[in-house]
């Protein structure tokens, strides 16, 4: 079995398509702000963005700014694909648990890959996309090591 593939012409990072319900999320990333939806009836965060709360199906949702703090829930070092954050070599794909509760898939940057540890504290950092939006990534508190 071979893992080589014909090279494909792709942007450095696959630009996230923007669904109508998530427009406020992506608009905020233009100012490097991380927003998370909340259900005011359940008092729970909702992520990914939805038209209705998964739980009560209510529509009493609002956007709140997240702290940008989180912890590393799970990670994998991808040896096969181009690094969407730029640069050569393997890179970290992760699920980060935000302090506010929800988990999101992202990249962890700013530290040697062998220092990744489940449970470690992280903070949001931003990767500029071609259209002025930013992609939320995470790094150790205080920035790159």
């Amino acid at each position: 079995m071979t893992t080589t593939e014909t090279p494909r012409e792709l942007p450095r990072r696959m630009e996230p398509p923007e669904s109508p319900v998530s427009e406020p999320f992506w608009a905020a990333t233009r100012e490097r702000r991380l927003l998370v939806q909340w259900c005011l009836d359940c008092e729970k965060s909702v992520f990914y963005p939805r038209e209705t709360c998964p739980g009560c199906l209510g529509t009493n949702l609002e956007w709140r700014e997240a702290s940008g703090n989180g912890t590393l829930y799970a990670f994998t070092v991808n040896h096969l694909s181009p690094n969407p954050a730029g640069g050569e070599g393997p890179f970290a794909v992760a699920i980060v648990e935000l302090a506010e509760g929800p988990r999101m898939m992202t990249n962890v940057v700013g530290l040697p890959l062998d220092e990744l540890k489940v449970g470690m504290e992280l903070q949001v950092t931003w990767d500029e996309l071609t259209d002025g939006r930013h992609y939320p990534m995470f790094e150790p508190p205080g920035g790159s090591k």
């Binding site: 669904s19 994998t76 991808n78 040896h79 794909v93 898939m105």
Partner: protein, 395 residues
Amino acid sequence: MSTTSIRGASAIVGVADDASPTGQLEIGGRALEAAMIEQALSDAGLTIADVDGVCHTGSSMALAEYLGVHPRFTESTNTGGSSFEVHVEHAAAAIAAGLAEVVISVYASTPRGDRARAGGAGGSWGRRPPFGGGPNPGAEWEMPSGIRMPMGAYALAATRHMALYGTTPEQLAQIAVSTRQWATKNPKARYQDPITIDDVLSSPMQTSPLHLLDCCLVTDGAGAFVMTSAERAKSLRKAPAYVLGVGTCHDHAMISQMPDLSTTAGTISGPAAFGMAGIKPSDVDLLMGYDSFTITALLHLEDLGFCEKGEGGPFAEDGKLGPGGSFPMNTNGGGLSYTHPGMYGMFLLVEAVRQLRGESGQRQLSNPNIAVAHGSGGALSCMSTVVLGTEAALS
């Protein structure tokens, strides 16, 4: 709610599958599906004229039209790799309720042949709509991370399991080693040479902690099964594999939405199926546990109750899953070494039935009475458990 009407009310009475050590099959598409259906019906001693129920992961309507069948039970559930266990569940309920009498399900997929014909194109997971169509949040919330799918999803589960429970790369590798030992006894298996833990750990890292040999194959393959009522099964060609218990649960579609990356919905589907069958994990003679990756199989061992949560690594590391071991798993060589055309769950059922009939050749177990086919679909998303048993297990 009573479930006793499903237990033992139906049986798998015909099976067929095909794969090749080359990884490639000569034909594909409907022609291959039709060949599988014909073989499975012949195996049962039935003909297409007997069929009144059709299952397919694409369109059961289109398949039935192609076959010239006018089914009164139709089933197009697609939960990825576990689809065929779900088909058994639904067909068992339909047969028990009198909605159908002879139900077929078929699968044929030829990614290698297709790739050869298309000049190398492939690898669309995450960029295409999810199973069954509809919106694709994965394109917005997962794929921009650069995750390699599907293996990245399973790698995330593996690092989480390692961090929580101390599971080691060697323990995961042993699952690939034991499975390959079984494949040495399957003349249709893609890979039939034994491997060692070192071979697995020195194979190229794909997306950590999964090495190449922790990952399933990509091969052409096809299969089919035929189910009917327990009553009609008694008069057919082969010993029936009775459906004793069924259970299904999915708790997410995208891996980033999985409630707990170290625990699958098998903790729901497994006990449901075992409860319906009236069995304990210790009663199971054979586990056919979906092995898209070594971590996938490890999670089934825990979540179906064959060992405690977190103990899958130590459970597997002594080689008990392989030939001669105390807990045989994936005797056909699994998705890791036999075949994996994309939705592997069909092959779990086919091997389980053959083992219960005593038709598994060099890899035949000694008089198994209860076999479990446990499918996993999506990104550890949909778990579906089928308990099959011989006549002896029925009473």
